[in-house]
Amino acid sequence: MTNKETTNILIAGVGGQGILLASEVIASVCLTAGYDVKQSEVHGMAQRGGSVTSHVRFGKTVYSPTIEKGKADILLSFELLETLRWIDYLSTDGTVIVNTLRIDPMTVAGGSAQYPDNIPQELQSRCRQLVAVNGSELALQAGNGKAVNITLLGVLSRFLEFSPELWKNAIAARVPQKTIPINLLAFDYGRNAK
């Protein structure tokens, strides 16, 4: 997906899942690789367990910081329902990477709404390529369930041109010092996941 001017990655999930850190890592990898890059997210109310998205765009010259509907090359999603919520941002030949985690929104937790039970099938019918991983489980195996965001970056890295070293340097520069080994392992688990 490098034979066009701008590559668009939309990251979606729930406030508190480490989405903003993941976006920063992606953006800094693109920067180090010599691309123009823009990243956009909205924080504020969103951090209180609400729906969160972050847009990362890179290429020769990037204008808009936000991705248009139908133009995302990759939708990297940290939660099942949020994947479906933002699916219309994906291009018709785009790839979905989804963490097979369910987090009930308050409406579902309180019993006033139903969590859709057929999300993987819904996604399958709406995208060219679906990559479903249990990132939370992989992160646990690496040593800390909270490293799920880094695990998912490992999965994402398979679809981008940048070397693992570039990714690992960017990760090490952004996570707390004592968590670096676990996070780098989490990245490898994601990159090598089936």
Partner: protein
Amino acid sequence: MKQLYSGDEAVARGAWEAGVEIAAAYPGTPSTEILENIAKYKDIYAEWSVNEKVAFEVAFGGAVAGKRALAAMKHVGVNVAADALMTAAYTGVNAGFVLVSADDPGMHSSQNEQDNRYLAKFAQIPMLEPADSQEAKDFVRLALEISEQYDTPVMLRMTTRVCHGKGLVETGERISILPRDYVKDPQKYVMIPANARKRHVIVEQRNKKLAEFSEQFSGNYVIPGDTSIGIIAGGISFQYAREAMPNAAIFKLGMTNPLPIKKIIDFAEQVKVLVVVEELEPFIEEQLRAAGIIVKGKDILPRLGEYSPELLREKLTGQVTPAAPQEALTLPGRPPVMCAGCPHRAVFQVLKKMNVVVSGDIGCYTLSTLPPLNTMDTVVCMGSSIGMAQGMVRALEGKKNKRVVSVLGDSTFIHSGIPSLVNAVYNRANITIIILDNRITAMTGHQQNPGTGVTLQGQQAHEFDFVAMAQAAGVGSVQIVDPIDVEETKAAITRALEQEGPSVVIARRPCVLVDRKQYEGPMQIDPEKCRVCKICLRIGCPAISIENETIRIDASVCFGCSLCRQVCPHESISLAGME
């Protein structure tokens, strides 16, 4: 070397590089990160002020006394500062002074989407609008130079996508600027009518000079291209227009007050159709029409919310990008919620069951308006809960059981609740004021405030005394409760409601995100005892859910505030690991 900066970080960097020495703000999304980042530069004095008006005055005073200064606030914050702004425009400055207004089209985190470009025009001060992080940094310096050259405050107007969007920024070093001399000059700075009349003449003369400056300002320029549609845009709208129509001729505006009208007339003559692309109000469009220029604008583009490249492409060219279908889906929403373990929740649990009108305010606790708590009757602006309650209680007089309760946070109370509390006592308003004192300004990301007793740059400060404040105002009944104790909270609010005249309840417990270890640990449900009455679901805690008619508490989310244990009528909830 290039860095990836958000617009807010870039403003902070720009302020540092341009020799700013004094900066002040009150937190407000999307502006908060400006001061948070400025505070990291130890050669700038940076403070959280108690509100935007004070922040403006601190920075403005610094500029008048000779040092470059910056004040930052969200769009509605400029309303609070407007009193000072309108007259600061008359006095002018000494050293450079920049007011950053961070607008929020689309209302991601705001109560309205007012267009503050009108405030720059209203105050008759110049305004710059950066379109990305690089410009955000560069424009701070330009704004300071314009401020000094034309002796005026300058507005740097940003929007959420510029503030929070990240892009590459070429950084530089801090320039060294000697403070200007401060010379007492009452005719310039003491705005008694006799002096103000003379200053107003100068403001008008300045406007003419600024209009000429705008005509030759390098930030207002034409990008040549296809002239079948010519676009005029500044700020984030410029990026959307470039993305949607990369080949169109564009007039890029960096300075939007005053507008470079002559230059725009020249551009208009070169293009077939001229379209003004601006989010929110027809600020530029109306001025161009008044100058006799034929333009399209709000007749084809919306006045509400944010723009996007796809919106512009569709409205200007009719093209629609195919997308993965989403429309057939009805998905449960995921609104933000009050956190598990939030100390505010119990107060609303109590209020929900009382027959009272709740005059609410701005902060995390505003989320209690959502189901299942549904507590707030009104929320309008910072500090309005106490004043509005006083009018409401007068209007509801004579109606049965219509007591009015104001609910506001510690920071909001200090921001603008204090004068209304004094008013309530002075005018004998029969209201109860609950101050949700979680020791921090939480909603905007945990900024210090006078109640915290620590400043932005980490210095110990006097810890504001809420009780003494209420007593000094003359409130007879002032109680402090631990809000997590439901019975105690209920009793305190009930006692307060029985008082004649204003009463104050201070519900004090630290924000759970600041002190995560304040409780004993997660709760658990005994499935033997649970009768699935769902009363615990009605407190709206994100740690509690129901699936297949079984209630469960997610131990990874629960902090252990015990509110669910207190409301459970069947004693089925206890501390995890205990029998």
